[in-house]
Amino acid sequence: MANTREIKSRIKGVEGTKKITKAMKLIAASKLKKAREMHERTLPFFKHIREIMIDIMKCTPDMKLVYFDKREKKENRKKGYIVISSDTGLNGGYNTNVIKEAVKVIDKENGVVFPIGNVIKNYMIKNGYNVVTDFIPGRYTVTTITAADIAKHMLKLFKDGEIDELEIVYTEMQSVMHLVPNSIKLLPLDNKDFKIMETGMREVLDFEPSAEVVFERLTNQYLQGVLYGGMVESFVSEHFARMNAMDSATSNAEKVSKKLTLDYNRARQQAITQEISEIIGGAMNLK
């Protein structure tokens, strides 16, 4: 049995770790709450954009826009992938799951990866994917402004023919316990995406300056909206995963500390018993 001093220092260590994991859990929880609130505030905006796009599609179904061009005949089609992971670890299986999904989805030969988050960036570079890292001007934050920057950049690449397809790999939070990595296609736009909602018919008759101009501008904001949605969802998932991981780490620390305390008491008791028997033994000898 270990001596009491050794056990005592271990208990101290475990208690320290517990404090840290507990704090990390609280931080994750508050970040999560903030991100969710922010997301809720932005929802009406992007819902509106989508509705307007659907309206335009209804009024001018035969519109030809570069963003609908599937470029099926083009050789060596380049695919772009935006992959969102976190910057740091300590969040359970969150990053591993994203990496798994990304590896499954990405066409390594013709694909270009736009990684968001250090973990995925390092993984992609290490494994020899084509990686572009400087597509975000400034620091990455989960804001509509960053989303707008990325959207603008991606639309330009698409227009210039640098990429012919764009997908995003992110983590979807289906329910509290269900964080599922998911991938959706962003470009080219699919007419089908804008035809689902037939309810709430609204007749828009005129466009100024023209349906094309309005639609092109909307595409930018639509893409921004989808991107932002993916960013927020990933962010929320990340912190949720971290919260859970830290929660189980905290309860684990508690368990370990309990066991150690028991060991400590036992060792202490043993030491006392030993001492007493030694004293008694000594006293007996004196008689």
Partner: protein
């Protein structure tokens, strides 16, 4: 009593304004445009400009960035990236932003896409400056 219509301004940071108003005025690509109740359905791309909202004979002014205005029989909505009440605008910052953008444009270092970007930001700053004086 003037006839009113439902009006809202939606931005990515939330619903900026919502209410029944009698008249609004803004700038479209082709010039200034005003909307009264029962306007024909239309979808207009707007420029960065001053938005005038008239309600109960009182006028309020706000800066809006580029976006869209959708007029339907039920509602008039503006969807824009940014919106600020005239009283909340930091005029000095706008003047500074305008000057910096103008300097970069004049220096000729910007390429074509950067130039359009700069022009938009100058437009935006000018609209801000114009709006900030209105009360």
């Amino acid at each position: 009593m003037q006839k009113t219509f439902k009006f809202e301004v939606v931005t990515p940071t939330g619903i900026f304004y919502e209410g029944d108003v009698s008249y609004i005025k803004f700038e479209a690509e082709n010039g200034e445009m005003g909307i009264l109740a029962d306007h024909a359905p239309v979808l207009v791309a707007t420029k960065p400009c001053t938005l005038t909202i008239e309600k109960d004979k009182k006028q309020k002014y706000a800066f809006i960035s580029e976006g869209f205005i959708e007029v339907t029989p039920q509602k008039v909505s503006i969807v824009t990236d940014l919106a600020d009440w005239s009283s909340d605008i930091d005029e000095e910052a706008a003047i500074k932003a305008k000057r910096i953008a103008e300097e970069e444009l004049e220096s000729g270092a910007a390429d074509a896409s950067r130039k359009t970007e700069l022009k938009v930001s100058i437009e935006r700053a000018s609209a801000r400056i114009k709006t900030s004086g209105l009360r």
